[in-house]
């Protein structure tokens, strides 16, 4: 219940913020969010800044340049864009840190099953991928060339694909064995 509420509030907030264009308001909300996040603020802020740096700097510089050349003002836009994107990214990172996704989707049993199973399978696949990478590194001398790296990437993806087919069958049988499909029409 708590997580579902959290998810809903965040969704409303995120959509609402895209309707706000006044940098003063956006700045105020960002300040409030930074204060409310408490001790997590520095970490989250750093991660948010890194996440948005590339796109925001490029768009801001591009706009400043083109507006200056045309002799038009640019300050409001640059503030608006950066404050809004930073605020939204910060809120999303904050949510991801606090939300229990499995509980948040308990409004749909089926969706919850999909999420739980997917999270479990992600771990299985990640373990497989880590093993592959380590094996690759332990067997290569120096920095491998492009073709070798491409072959390795191809093999990683191929192994994932094959594992996925096996896992899909196995999970299907595992659920069937526990009678999962007997109660459904």
């Amino acid at each position: 219940m708590k997580d579902r509420l959290l998810l809903s509030v965040w969704l409303v907030a995120v959509v609402g913020i895209t309707f706000i264009h006044d940098p003063l308001w956006l700045g105020g909300l960002l300040t409030a969010a930074l204060l409310l996040a408490g001790r997590a603020t520095p970490t989250l802020l750093k991660r948010a800044l890194i996440a948005i740096a590339l796109v925001n700097i490029a768009v801001s510089l591009g706009f400043v340049l083109s507006a200056s050349l045309a002799g038009e003002p640019w300050g409001l836009f640059v503030l608006r864009l950066n404050l809004r994107v930073l605020l939204l990214t910060f809120l999303t990172l904050w949510l991801a840190r606090h939300l229990d996704l499995v509980r948040a989707v308990d409004f749909s049993r089926s969706l919850q099953f999909v999420v739980v199973l997917a999270l479990g399978q992600i771990k299985t696949f990640q373990r497989l991928l880590t093993d592959y990478r380590m094996a690759f590194r332990s067997r290569s001398l120096g920095r491998p060339d492009l073709a070798t790296r491409a072959r390795s990437a191809g093999r990683q993806a191929g192994a994932l694909l094959e594992k996925a087919e096996l896992q899909a069958t196995e999970v299907n049988l595992g659920m069937r064995s526990r009678g999962f499909f007997d109660d459904r029409t």
Binding site: L7, V14, V15, I17, T18, F19, H21, R47, A51, I52, V59, G62, F63, E72, P73, L76, F77, L81, R84, V85, L87, L88, T89, T92, L93, W94, A96, R97, L99, L101, A104, F113, V114, V115, V116, L117, A118, G120, Q121, I122, F125, Q126, L129, L146, R149, A150, R151, A153, G154, A157, G158, L160, L161, E162, A164, A168, V171, N172, M175, R184
Partner: protein
Amino acid sequence: MHIPDGLIAPQVYLGAYAVAAPAWAYAVRKVAREFDDALIPRLAVLTALAFVLTTVMVPLPGGTSGHLVGVGLLALAFGVWPAFLAYSLVLVLQSLLLGAGGITVLAINALAMGLTGAAVTVGVFRLLAKVHRPAAAVIGVWLGVVVAATLVALVLGIQPLMGSDTEGQPLFFPFGPAVTLPVVVGPHLIIALGEGILTWMVLSVVERRRVPA
């Protein structure tokens, strides 16, 4: 290529959700029929696969690398609709689990790459597969990614039309298609080639092993 939150006007991204909603509903029905009662396990495994595939690095010349998108691979191996659903769920997971990627723009990203890109890839592949399978896969994936990037560029490019303040400064993404098309699509002409070649490498290995022992 993913658009972050905050650059796109509400009327555009909400419109994208309105388009995506029936597409998702149709995909669920379609995939449920195809997978029989195994919808939940298969969709879950496919989503996990799509999630982890995006962490495979595509090596690029010059010692750099990018991440695999993987939608083309998923679509060629499992079909357009399963790929679309799995990719959409991956976007949800990335946003809610990792805080990466936008939620408001999720429908745009899902429609561009997960549906349009996947459909173009599979369509082109089917058309050309009889002539030359490897080339069909590479060209299919390449075109799928390029079309998706073009869609994203166009969505960004129409943002200046979505309003400006009293001073005439834009409310959302500020550049028109004359800027976004070359800037967004240009690099993808090359990235998509890497993705296409890698996709074929993976598919050929999997196809070879599928031949009965």
